[in-house]
Symmetry: C2
Subunit: 215 residues, 2 copies
Amino acid sequence: MPRGRAPGYNTQREQILARAADLFARQGYTATSMNQVALACGVSKPSLYHYVRDKYQLLVEIAQDHVARLNTLVAEVQVMPLPPADRVRLLIARFMEVYADAQAAHRVLTEDVKFLEPADQKRVLDAQRQVVAAFAQAIAEARPDLHATPLQKPVTMLLFGMMNWMFTWHQPGGKLTHAQMAPVVADLFFGGLAAVQLPVPQPAPAIKTPQRRRA
Amino acid sequence: MPRGRAPGYNTQREQILARAADLFARQGYTATSMNQVALACGVSKPSLYHYVRDKYQLLVEIAQDHVARLNTLVAEVQVMPLPPADRVRLLIARFMEVYADAQAAHRVLTEDVKFLEPADQKRVLDAQRQVVAAFAQAIAEARPDLHATPLQKPVTMLLFGMMNWMFTWHQPGGKLTHAQMAPVVADLFFGGLAAVQLPVPQPAPAIKTPQRRRA
DNA sequence: CCTACCGATCGGTAGG
DNA sequence: CCTACCGATCGGTAGG
């Protein structure tokens, strides 16, 4: 084992990742300069480069750390002995908790993944797909009639839509907290599942919604 | 009135906006260079500047045009004599139609609005709020018991979450078209509304979900 | 005089 | 750890 880093090294490093995630979330990866990151961290630019190889590595680690956190969460809930519907509800509650706690990293994961090089992008997207698959499986256990139907994946994605979108508009100081919204999302989702019609068999019947009318 | 532009001017201009929207959607506003925009349009950079004042103006017009389109759509549906629930369903169908048709502009609207200067950003966000308010009103007419409750706005945003999120993962060549998904979204939403519990009265009861267990 | 458009290069600033 | 500075590339515009 090589000689250790300074004691505060990892702490400092984690703080840098957090500050960088904040900046990337607000300004986007490309529009954020390493000077800004250094300034936000209270260190000089050369010091910053002591903790991170380059700007790109910041992006890679923020995205990978966050998606790994989501996978850990899913794994924890999967081993719990729970009725299927309760498992889905717990997954929703835990996800919204993490989203609220790591709003910046989550925004980076959803918006800046396009700046990752193919190999890194694949790693992150594969991990994300694993999370979605776990949700889809839990949903199918709670609603066996949906299992292996063409709607299993789409309704899972609609659930993610509700959860993910919340954090593009939800203000941390808002009236409704994530803890209050989680059961609302779960109720809306399960209540809605019961009402969803099973697949349209014909291939894209080109449903025409009325065009504008002329008087 | 000044002498007119060349006949193809407006056509060319619209094509430039469309190409720029594609590039901005795929690479982000900041990471896209005017050289790329010019290349994608098959014109030289000086020619490009003949059609647009500068890069920023591209962003402003893409965002404003798209949000204006959404407002036009809402206004059209609002004047139709329809039962409340049908109005919401038509709004959903029309929105997903526009999203599918203008996927690039929609992505720019949701992801690159942060690069707008305050005054322009306010204009766009105000227009967006108008669209959301129209949805919220239509929803409240379909479900009067929800009107003016703390949940009216949140459930409206959850609906937008489902619609908007679809287009961050939906492939144009996928199995399910937007026309097939629109009724699924509507069914899920209305079915779910019936199941949603009305507000938690106590202020943020800090629902604790279990932490990880140690064996 | 106008428009439309080229090749070449400007001043400033990015990551490093 | 800082000042200083690089090679490369940005958005935008000069002359012709």
